[in-house]
């Protein structure tokens, strides 16, 4: 058994929607930076995106291997209530796990990786680290253009490791960089020159020097370097000072995704892991409210590991969102309420009773006639056998559209609402909403897959459930 844990598996999530920075500029008359940023859809948040990343990470390490779940974000759906429990339920984790939310700083993401590695080191079970963020920037501000939304997940453990952790280094210092008081929607930042010269550059450089010294590794021995700094000039300075080969730098996704907050160092790492060969080293360094650096070395097992969905593939799979829709989705732009009653909040007891269904998307299968059905039934829809059901998970099965409806009357932040009747491969039919789609392209026979979403929020209760989306 290894003393220190490493990465056993990982998954990433880049939402489907993109906002072109030029579209912000066109509407507000501000200067646009180049490229585009990812946008969590109107039905996504940090937890639902983390679920998508975790689902992929768990393909190579089943839920039963997990002993601890750490969820990191600066944008938790609930200010009080365990957000990690949503992720555990949606990914059908066993109940006997530790679970915690790490929040309050963008640093929470890389901290969760470090804490997860500590938890898994010397433990028989793996630690699952889920990081998702959807940070808001005020219109006309830099953050709105530079931020992106996304998630990443790592399973950390001591067996079946594909990248072992050789050394880590961390530095903490109290200084004003970015802050946001409880109840505030948008963050504030101190002057850039101050944070660059007094914090980012010195801290990042020290953390990197420390971790390389601990492992007795020279900069030239690094196959890949992942540098995550809120100010891109800090990264440039490090590269010059350490004479790093720019070709070895991991993509910071500035032009395609944006800076994904707590998820970013992990997302960048997920971007370079597929290119690592056994024995190669990658340095991950991040500066945010201090600095952390992790030195990883790929094991022979990495050769046999392929992520379910690579970051690059998800960057390519995209559709535009207008700046107007984005402002509505984030409720920055108030709109006239529909002439329909507000939805009722989902109720606690029914949600607890149907947890396997609502969060895990587990239906039932008749043991007498073999028909899968969802939601789970007591009496079989086909042979009417009573209480002869066994649980049957649908979340990871694909389906095809049997018929559909494009609802222009239903209230939605993203009208029209597309409803689909879908037939699952292997059996089972369901009627649900379809998301991340272009309504005019929906057709009978199209292949869809399931995705975990936040349908609406009522009385402060987030209503999570599953929707179909075109296969990515």
């Amino acid at each position: 058994m290894r003393l220190m844990a490493g990465i056993v598996s990982y998954g990433s999530y880049v939402p489907y929607r993109r906002l072109k920075r030029a579209a912000i500029a066109a509407m507000l008359g501000v200067t646009a930076s180049k490229g585009e940023r990812s946008v969590a859809s109107f039905d996504e948040d940090s937890a639902s995106m983390a679920v998508e990343a975790v689902r992929d990470a768990l393909k190579a390490a089943p839920p039963s291997s997990i002993g601890a779940l750490l969820f990191a974000t600066t944008t938790p759906p609930y200010g009080e209530k365990l957000n990690a429990a949503i992720i555990a339920a949606a990914t059908r984790m066993p109940p006997n796990i530790r679970a915690v939310d790490l929040t309050g700083s963008v640093r929470a993401g890389i901290s969760a990786i470090l804490q997860g590695a500590d938890a898994a080191s010397g433990s028989k079970t793996n630690a699952l680290v889920a990081i998702g963020d959807a940070r808001l920037g005020a219109p006309e501000g830099k953050a709105e253009q530079q931020n992106g939304d996304g998630a990443v997940a790592f399973v950390l453990g001591t067996e079946h490791v594909i990248a072992e952790i050789e050394a880590t280094a961390s530095l903490t210092r109290e200084f004003m960089d970015t802050w946001r008081a409880p109840g505030e929607r948008f963050g504030h930042s101190w002057e850039e020159r101050f944070t660059l010269t007094q914090a980012y550059s010195p801290l990042l450089s020290k953390a990197i020097t420390d971790v390389l010294a601990k492992a007795k590794v020279a900069p030239g021995d690094l196959a890949k370097v992942v540098l995550d700094a809120p100010n891109l000039r800090a990264a440039d300075e490090i590269i010059r000072a350490m004479k790093l080969d720019p070709a070895r730098l991991g993509d910071n996704f500035a032009l395609t995704v944006g800076q994904t907050g707590a998820a970013h160092p992990g997302l960048m790492l997920a971007g370079v892991l597929p290119s690592l060969k056994p024995g190669e080293r990658v340095l991950v360094a991040s500066v945010a409210d201090g600095a952390d650096a992790i030195l990883l070395r790929a094991t022979p097992a990495i050769a046999g590991f392929k992520p379910v969905r690579s970051v690059g593939m998800q960057i390519e799979s995209k559709g535009d969102v207008s700046y107007g829709s984005y402002l509505k989705w984030r409720e920055i732009l108030p709109t006239e309420p529909p002439r329909r009653p507000d939805p009722d909040r989902p109720a606690g007891p029914p949600m607890l009773r149907s947890q396997q269904w609502k969060f895990g998307f587990v239906g039932s299968k008749c043991t007498q006639c073999g028909t899968p059905q969802l939601p789970p039934q007591r009496v079989c829809v086909k042979c009417r056998a009573f209480d002869k059901m066994e649980p049957y998970a649908f979340a990871d099965r694909t389906a095809r559209i049997a018929t559909y409806a494009i609802d222009r009357l239903a209230y939605s932040l993203n009208p029209p609402t597309v409803n689909v009747v879908i037939d699952f491969e292997g059996g089972g039919r369901f009627l649900c909403e379809m998301t991340d789609c272009e309504p005019e392209k929906v057709a009978i026979g199209d292949e869809v897959e399931m995705t975990f979403r936040r349908l609406f929020t009522a009385d402060g209760v987030h209503n999570y459930f599953w929707k179909a989306r075109p296969k990515r």
Partner: protein
């Protein structure tokens, strides 16, 4: 075990029906009073002659007090009935059975719905506390699921399919233009229907029934007593109601081109009434045209058209007022709107007028058997009601 029916055992001896529409100046109490007193007058009876009442309403009140209070009913049984969009028909079915059982001599079935007070568009219903997983599809979206499925199954290109749907709405508005009690009393051109703003593709606003307020009532007695009250009563031949197992959203073998519940209730009703060929034997029908594709599919489910051919019958004018089997001669939900509790009894009111020769410019030539049909819910998950009524016993 059998559904035996009560053919020719009860009769309707009087009816009342308010104008349907936006009654900003009338509440549910007013509408109930108007329909009830019109029915009393129609049958020539006094309120105290009525032994029991069945009140259908989905959301305009709860309990029998909704009726007994405004009508000042003197300590008689009043049963409030709800069965989604078939609520009005269900109130009548229960009233008929009560008379047939011998429990009462003379009863009233009455339905009401006041939809225009909510301030919301479309229907508003509230669900019991739940886990938040049941989707909130609107009614037009639910029924629009039929259109692409039907078009694809029978090889109609979407343009042709849209023509068929538009013609159904055109026909119903054309009939409604001849009806002084309809909400909309104007003909609407095919072009205006086809080009109306999209609600749930391919359905436009003109593919949807309206939203209105209204009330309708019937007074029912044993058939042998009918002539004591009235020269030309109408007779109940069949009453069928079924609730389905809601397998449409669960089973891959349901293809969204039929309502199995309607097929089952039509079969039951035809067996009660002794009908073997609905297309030939039914003189006229009032069916639940909540949305145009619903009416299209109903033609086939009720046995008026063979599978896959209803669209052709529509284009041939088979169901027009001057066609072989006029459907929705009064203008249907399309012209009347759909005040839930009242609709089933409004359909029966058209049968009452037509059999008695009182339908004015809509009058059909000597109808013998009529059918009324309601459904509530959505394709694959609904309740269905079918009645057959006739001018004569036998």
């Amino acid at each position: 075990m059998a559904s035996r029916g009560i053919k020719d055992r009860v009769a309707i001896i009087g009816m009342g029906c308010t104008k349907f529409g936006e009654h900003w100046d009338k509440g549910p109490d007013d509408l109930l009073c108007e329909a009830a007193y019109e029915a009393y007058a129609s049958a020539g009876v006094n309120p105290d002659d009525i032994d029991a009442y069945w009140l259908g309403t989905m959301g305009s009140g709860i309990s029998g007090l909704t009726l007994s209070e405004p009508l000042k009913i003197q300590y008689k049984p009043v049963t409030r009935v709800e069965n989604m969009c078939a609520t009005g028909s269900e109130a009548m079915r229960q009233a008929c059975y009560a008379v047939a059982s011998g429990a009462f001599d003379i009863v009233m079935a009455i339905g009401v719905e006041k939809l225009k007070d909510s301030g919301y568009s479309g229907l508003v219903t509230s669900a019991p506390p739940n886990d938040g997983t049941e989707g909130g599809m609107t009614a037009p979206a639910s029924f629009s699921l039929l259109a692409p499925a039907y078009f694809k199954k029978y090889g109609l290109d979407p343009d042709k399919g849209k023509d068929v749907l538009s013609r159904i709405a055109w026909k119903n508005h054309r009939n409604g233009a001849k009806n002084p009690k309809a909400q909309f009393q104007k003909e609407v051109s095919i072009e205006a229907i086809k080009n109306s703003p999209k609600i749930a593709d391919p359905l436009g606003i003109m593919d949807c029934s309206g939203v209105s307020d209204g009330s309708a009532a019937a007074i029912i007695v044993r058939a042998e007593d009918a002539h004591k009250y009235c020269k030309n009563p109408i007779y109940i031949k069949a009453l069928s109601f079924v609730a389905g197992p809601a397998e449409g959203p669960l089973s891959q073998d349901y293809d969204f081109t039929t309502f199995r519940e309607v097929v089952a209730s039509a079969k039951d009703a035809y067996s009660q009434a002794g009908i073997t060929d609905a297309r030939a034997q039914i003189s006229m029908a009032e069916v639940h045209d909540c949305f145009t594709p619903t009416e299209l599919v109903l033609y086939e489910d009720l046995g008026f058209s063979k599978r896959g051919t209803a669209w052709q019958d529509v284009m041939d004018g088979y169901f027009d007022l001057d066609g072989k089997l006029p459907v929705n001669p009064d203008g249907g939900l399309k012209s009347f709107g759909h005040p839930i509790g009242a609709s089933g009894l409004r359909m029966m009111y058209e049968m009452w007028l037509q059999f008695r020769g009182e339908a004015g410019p809509r009058q059909l030539k000597n109808p013998k058997l009529g059918l009324t049909h309601n459904l509530g819910g959505a394709p694959g998950r609904c309740v269905s009601f079918v009645s057959v009524v006739g001018k004569e016993v036998g």
